[in-house]
Structures are given as C-alpha cells and as structure tokens.
C-alpha cells in the first residue's frame, strides 16, 4: 500500500497539510488549504502516481458555514485511493478551477456550480446547466434547500390521504374519559 507518513512528509515540504487520516489500508483522506489544492493535486498526479481522478464532489457543512470539496484520486500502481479535501467559505464560495488537470474536471465543476453554487472562474462552459434546465431556485444540493417544502408549495398532492397515530387514536376510541392523563 502507501506509506502515509512518507507521503505527508513529502507534501509538507511543499504544501501545508492540515490533516491526513487513514480510513482503510487502501483509502486515505488528506486535507489542505484551498489555495494549495490545485498545485497539491498536480503534484500528487505527476510525482506520487495519483494519475486517475475518480470524482470531484462537495459536502455541505452548513453548521460550519463551509463547503468541503473532495477530489478523489487513485494511484493504480500502489492501488491506493486518496481523497484530497479542502474547505471553502460557504457565504462566498469560489474555488480555483483545475480544468487543465483532467478532461472531466470541467464537467464536475459545472455540476458543482449548479448543485451547490460554487464558482470556478475560468472553467470552460461552467455556466452551462448540467442537469437542471430552466431551474430558477437556489442550488438544490445545499442543505438549507428543503425539497419537501418546495414540492408541497409548488405542486399539489392528490387529495384523500390522511393518517392517524395509533396512540392518539386509541386515546380517542378506547379511553376518551381519561384522555387528559
């Protein structure tokens, strides 16, 4: 597998590693500063063998007011997955574009912009909608967007659904005289 200590030592020489943690022998997560990420990822690709990009995604850390962007890289030789994570400000989410690193990055960045509202200045075609045509609402994958509330307000359910709570129903039908207990 991969000697994480050695990897961290090499990375520390060039970029500040906030944290590196091992989930399994073939999966680790490495967190660095937003400013270091494009170079760190390029370094990992060119010098540490992480030539394959599995995906780029985002986790909405609403309670910390941050977005956590994850770049999942893979080293085929050493059979090791490495998730490079970084946290960006949620109120003004901008991240450097890495569209020259791999061909698919432009697509991932397009999706993140649409789903989370993160800007990637300079990414080709980043303003083109990815999956949602003519969507006027907020970025839907954000945790403060309540899809249930939205659908209840926008659409109308077919009438005729009404449920009963067993304990409440039993109170009304089986012991109404002592329902106040």
């Amino acid at each position: 597998m991969v000697d994480l200590k050695a990897l961290r030592a090499e990375m520390d020489k060039r970029y500040k590693v906030i944290e590196i943690s091992e989930q399994r022998t073939d999966l680790a997560f490495l967190e660095c500063d937003k400013i270091d990420v494009p170079d760190a990822v390029a370094y990992l690709r060119d010098h540490e063998g992480y030539v394959h990009l599995s995906f780029i995604t985002c986790v909405d850390r609403l309670e910390d007011e941050q977005f956590e962007i994850v770049y999942m890289l893979r080293n085929h030789e050493k059979k090791h997955d490495l998730g490079v994570k970084t946290k960006i400000d949620r109120k003004n989410p901008v991240m450097d574009s890495m569209h020259n690193h791999w061909a698919a990055v432009a697509t991932y960045q397009r999706e993140l912009r649409e789903m989370f509202g993160i800007e990637f200045p300079g990414s080709p075609g980043v303003n083109r909608p990815f999956a949602l045509e003519s969507w006027a609402g907020p970025p839907p994958m954000r945790r403060d967007f309540d899809t249930r509330k939205y659908s209840e307000e926008t659409y109308f359910p077919r009438p005729g659904r009404e449920t009963h709570d067993p304990a409440e129903h039993m109170k009304k039908t089986q012991y109404p005289g002592r329902a106040d207990l």
């Binding site: 999966l27 394959h52 995906f55 999942m72 061909a103 432009a106 697509t107 083109r128 249930r148």
Partner: protein, 390 residues
C-alpha cells in the same frame, strides 16, 4: 498542461460554427432516440455527414437521488439506490450496503459475501447481454438484439426467483442479503448459463465474422493508452487499449481473490482498441462472468446470510466517510458516503463511469466521425446516462 493538439479544450461549441453559412447543420440526436443509450441529448453540428462538433446534454434522468438519500434513514435508502443505474442495479445495492457496513463497523457472514459476488457477476452478465444487443443494433443488426434481450429475460427470471424482483432486486441490504437462495436455484442458474453460452457462440459466429460489422466497427472510436488517464477512462474501454486495470483484481473486494480469472485486455485477446476490439473484449468478459458464476456456485460455503443491524428505525451510524468502488460492466462504479453520526446519511455521492465516458470523452471522440456511426460510437463506450445526473 496536456498536449492541446491531442486533447483540445472543449468549450461546447455550436457557437463556433456559422449555421447561416449553409456549410453546417445542427442535428439533435436524442433525448429520445434508439441510437442513444438511455435519455441523453446529443447536439451535433455536421458538415455534410461528418460531425464537426458534439455538445452533450444530460439531465433528462435527474431524479435527485443524492438529495433524497440525505432525507431518509440509512435502511430506507436501499430501495432507492438500485434505481440509479437501471441495467445493473446490484452494484448500487452492494456499494451502498458495503459502505454503510464499513462506517457502522458491521461484518457480514461469509455466505452473504459469496452470494453478493454471485449477484454482481450475474448483473454484469445481464448488463452485457443488453449492451451487446445495443451495439449490434446500432449498426443495423437487430437480430442480435432480439437474442440477447431474450437471454437477458431468462437471467431476469433467475433474479426474480432469487430476490423477488426482476430489475430492482432490493436484495443486497446492509447486514447481508435478504434471504437465502431458494431450493433448486443453483441448478436453474447453471441451465440458463448453458443457454446463454450457446447464444453467445451463435452471436460470436455471426457478429465477429461479419463483413458489415467489420467494415463499420474496425478503426472507429480508437482509444489510445495515453487518453486513459487524462479522460478518466476505466473498464473495458481502457482495457481494450491495453491498460491492464480491473478493480476486481486491484481492490479485490468481496471474494474475487478466491476466484480464478485473469484481466482481459486488448493485448491478451489480440484486438485493437476500436469498436470491434471493444466488442470482442466485452464478449470475452461475458464468458469470464459465466466462468466466475460457475466457480462460485461450486465453492459457495454454507452459513447464515444476514446479521441484523441495530433497530433500523433509529440506527445511528458513527461519523466518518468512506469511498468504495466496484468493477461494473462499464468501469469504476463508486459510492462516497459521509456520515455525521445521525440516523440519516450526510452525503451520498454516486460515481458513475459514464460521467467521464459520455461527456468529456465522447465530445472528444465524436468530431471527425460519420453521423451514421454516432450511435455505434456511443454504445461502444457503454454509457448509461442515469448514472451521470443521478
């Protein structure tokens, strides 16, 4: 910086072509089109019948699964995940269940692991059957499609007998599998496999010794080894170009390390990395799946098939994150799950191989090809749009 001659930046280009000039024509292939694998729109700009530009539009199958999964308890998600990729739903079920078990620290019984592997290989075979019909059909050979879909139907009968559902099995669950194998099912599987092999023999005879297919497929859609990492190509698309990578060997998840099989590449079966070569390679992988299924039926251990999790109505999984991938028919299929210690997942990200194949790679490969070949090219990349936009 990549070689911009070989790998130009694709900005989505119909704006670059003067449609008024009379030299170019814009054609929409899809989103409902027999030459598109699923619902995806290809906005083509052609000069005569040569494609000069392709812009892909996804989103017709966006169902918002990732958001839905955040709002449901852990156990309530397994009926959802199988619907993300229709032709091989078992991979979704397995990856979700395995990632959940990893985060929760649950170990499942051995027989359950074997049955899961058996399900996955059957799913690969079933998906390949449909694909093979599609590939031949894209070049006008509809007969093959009739045969393969029928064989797929018999495979679905097997799934129905085992799991209770034909397409959406909802059988691989966190904790193991939902019920043991019924009496006599293994012999049904072996009988069906014999029939599938017979049909495969027929297909190989009439498809691989076929002047029309060779004329059209050879030399088309070439993927070179240096494209593999830049475009994020995995699966048979990469293996056909000679790159020997197979997650079943690399990560050896489930019980693949106990089974006897080799990585099939374009080099090992002596084909080039074009559509014809990829078809040959996938047919070989179908035979490989059949062999693996037979091995598993032979060696399957006895034992329980499920270990029950804590009360699923309030099952809280400790905070953490993990990424699990599996080798589906198209390449690397992955689930990235983040838990925040509550009874619902914080984030479930589904990584589908078609995300890279059907967008960046396809947009790169299509210009220069004939419009009649677009369908064949798309099918040869084995893309399934549902997993692109989930």
């Amino acid at each position: 910086m990549p070689d911009r001659e070989k790998f130009p930046v694709h900005t989505g280009g119909v704006e670059n072509f003067d449609l008024e000039s009379g030299r170019y024509m814009k054609v929409w292939q899809g989103p409902q089109h027999p030459g598109v694998t699923g619902n995806m729109a290809l906005e083509l700009v052609t000069s005569g019948d040569e494609i000069v530009d392709l812009k892909t539009h996804v989103g017709y199958l966006h169902r918002g699964f990732e958001k839905l999964m955040e709002r449901r308890k852990w156990i309530q998600n397994f009926p959802l995940v199988c619907r993300i990729c229709v032709p091989e739903p078992d991979f979704n079920e397995y990856l979700y269940a395995a990632a959940t078990e990893e985060l929760a620290g649950i170990e499942i019984p051995e027989r359950a692991v074997w049955i899961r592997t058996l399900n996955l290989e059957m799913a690969r075979l079933t998906s390949f059957l449909m694909w093979l019909g599609g590939q031949a059909g894209a070049f006008g050979m509809g007969t093959i499609g009739q045969w393969t879909v029928t064989m797929r139907d018999f495979m679905l009968d097997l799934f129905e007998e085992l799991t209770g559902g034909r397409i959406y099995h909802m059988y691989i669950v966190p904790g193991g599998v939902r019920g043991d194998v019924p009496q006599g099912w293994f012999s049904h599987v072996l009988t069906t496999l014999k029939n599938v092999e017979k049909v495969l023999d027929d297909i190989e005879l009439v498809l691989f010794n076929n002047a029309v297919f060779k004329k059209r497929a050879v030399g088309l859609g070439v993927i070179t080894p240096d494209m593999v990492d830049y475009y994020g190509i995995t699966g048979p698309n990469a293996r056909a170009s000679g790159v020997a990578r197979d997650i079943r060997k690399d990560r050896s998840y489930l019980i693949y390390d106990k089974l006897d099989f080799d990585i099939i590449t374009g080099i090992s079966i002596g084909v080039d990395s074009d559509i014809f070569g990829r078809t040959r390679l996938r047919a070989a992988e179908m035979r490989q799946s059949i062999s693996l299924i037979r091995q598993m039926i032979d060696k399957m251990p006895e034992g329980p098939v499920h270990v029950s999790p804590p009360n699923v109505l309030h099952w809280k999984i400790p905070a953490g994150e993990t990424y699990l991938s599996a080798e589906c028919t198209r390449g690397e299929y992955g689930y990235y799950i983040v838990s925040d210690g509550s009874d619902k997942p914080r984030r479930v990200y589904v990584r589908g191989p078609s995300y890279t194949h059907a967008v960046a790679l396809f947009e790169h490969m299509a210009p220069g090809t004939n419009i009649a070949d677009t369908a064949g090219l798309m099918v040869s990349l084995h893309t399934y749009p549902p997993e692109i936009e989930r």
